[in-house]
Amino acid sequence: MTAIFERIGLTFIRVFEQTGLWFGAFADTFRWMFRRPFDGREWLRQMVRVGVDSIPVVVLTSMFTGMVLALQTFVGFRRVHAEQFVASVVSLAMLRELSPVLVGLMVTGRVGSSMAAEIGTMKVTEQIDALKALATEPVQYLFVPRVVAGIIMLPFLVILGDFLGIYGGYLVAVKLMRTNPVVYQQNTYQFLALNDVWSGLIKAAAFGLILTLTGCVRGYYTTGGAEGVGRATTNAVVSASLIILLSDFFLTKILF
């Protein structure tokens, strides 16, 4: 019985410890973001890595999500003769919820994990110590370009995801379900407000921050060689995905 309480207690301590490390790194990253030297080349390299290199995965995910959403809602709405609302549901769902969350999760799997693995490997091979010995602050050199890239590039990926998701829905509704294309297009925009777009983009920037910072923090605190790097990579993906899903609720509550 004592062992169970001990285990629960240790889990709580670990959660609080990890939360503390995350917020500590968050504060340090913003503190170092505005200090010289600014490594423009590294910032750009990370933007390409987070943004440009993630385009194929975002294209596929968003397009098929929009298509399947149209298909599902069409089947359901036909039962109550409300097929004309399919377009609005697809566009609202993509802009407000699906595009930011799915892009966030997909980029976490692709980029967050590789950041944790890269920084974790640097940690266990003393490259982080070498950075410090070369009078370079690791948070400034490693965290800042990655986090900046996440905050800037995720909204662009989400805009792309929004367009493709809505277009995917249009393709299914018009080509497969024989909906009138003009009516579908009208219904797509009819119930949209500017806030739907903005709130999705704000979410995207927040998710960009979460997934990159979590990847960096997990990598930076790696211990124990190759096994530790593997653990850090898995933890980065699991933690960032959970934080994205939890924060999604609170952000939605605040933003709408």
Partner: protein, 251 residues
């Protein structure tokens, strides 16, 4: 007053006490080699000198400045006076050899690219390497990686050089070449050098003074000649590399 002073350092990791009342003085321009078995705290000592670790108790004084009391910004400025060569080189594997050596120059100087190129070539010349600028660290042998690590360490023309086990895992011939190279760099650059190793041949070749770390503190120090004549049984066992003796009896 000594140039580098480690005053009564204590350091523990979890429940394991690594350094206990560890003190040593190092004069300007001197080459001190700290020897000791695996896990005795040699690397920990070296990392204290450059401020990568903070002691639980005690002080590290370098050129009359207390390293242990420095804040991160101050420490970063201070570290530009150091060059540190790591055990496996610790080269940045996302960069090639040229970019590795140019890294500190790009970050801490206002040198133009042609000046950087000239300095990188000079550093590679100092470690007797040619034509490797475009190679990735993974394409280099162990000995070459260490030499590139040395070149990176000296690129900012440091006053103090720290070597963390520079010959571990290398064959005896390459170890000797590395030792020669360290002597050469020492003479040419006139730096204060601290090296840690458990390779006694290299230690005697390089050192002005050898110190032995055991049980968290220095138990013997002196010139290579005096050190070899030490009457301390632990020191003698370590020098001779014998399996039987006080070192292994305690284990």
């Amino acid at each position: 007053m000594a140039f580098i002073e480690l005053r009564s350092l204590h350091k523990s990791f979890d429940s394991k006490q690594v350094l206990r009342d560890m003190s040593i003085d190092i004069d300007r321009g001197e080459t001190v080699v700290i020897v000791g078995g695996s896990g005795t705290g040699k690397s920990v000592t070296l990392k204290h000198i450059i401020g990568l670790l903070k002691p639980d108790r005690g002080q590290v004084i370098v050129d009359d400045q207390d390293v242990t009391a420095m804040r991160e910004m101050e420490l970063n400025r201070f570290r530009r006076r150091f060059g540190m060569a790591f055990q496996e080189g610790a080269l940045f594997d996302s960069m090639n050899v040229y970019e590795n050596i140019a890294f500190p120059l790009r970050r801490h100087t206002k040198m133009k690219e042609n000046e950087i190129r000239a300095r990188v070539e000079e550093c590679l010349e100092d470690v007797h390497l040619h034509g490797v600028e475009k190679k990735r660290p993974s394409e280099l042998s162990g000995g070459m990686r260490r030499r590139v690590g040395f070149a990176r360490a000296i690129s900012l023309k440091p006053e103090i050089l720290l070597f963390d086990e520079p010959t571990t895992g290398l064959d005896p011939v390459i170890s000797d070449i590395i030792a020669e190279l360290i002597c050469e760099m020492d003479t040419k650059l006139g730096t204060t050098t601290v090296m840690i190793t458990h390779d006694m041949k290299v230690a005697f070749k390089v050192a002005d003074r050898v110190a032995m770390l055991y049980d968290g503190h220095i138990i013997e120090e002196g010139t290579p000649e005096d050190f070899q004549k030490s009457t301390n049984a632990i020191v003698q066992q370590f020098i001779e590399g014998r399996a039987e003796g006080p070192l292994t009896d305690i284990d």
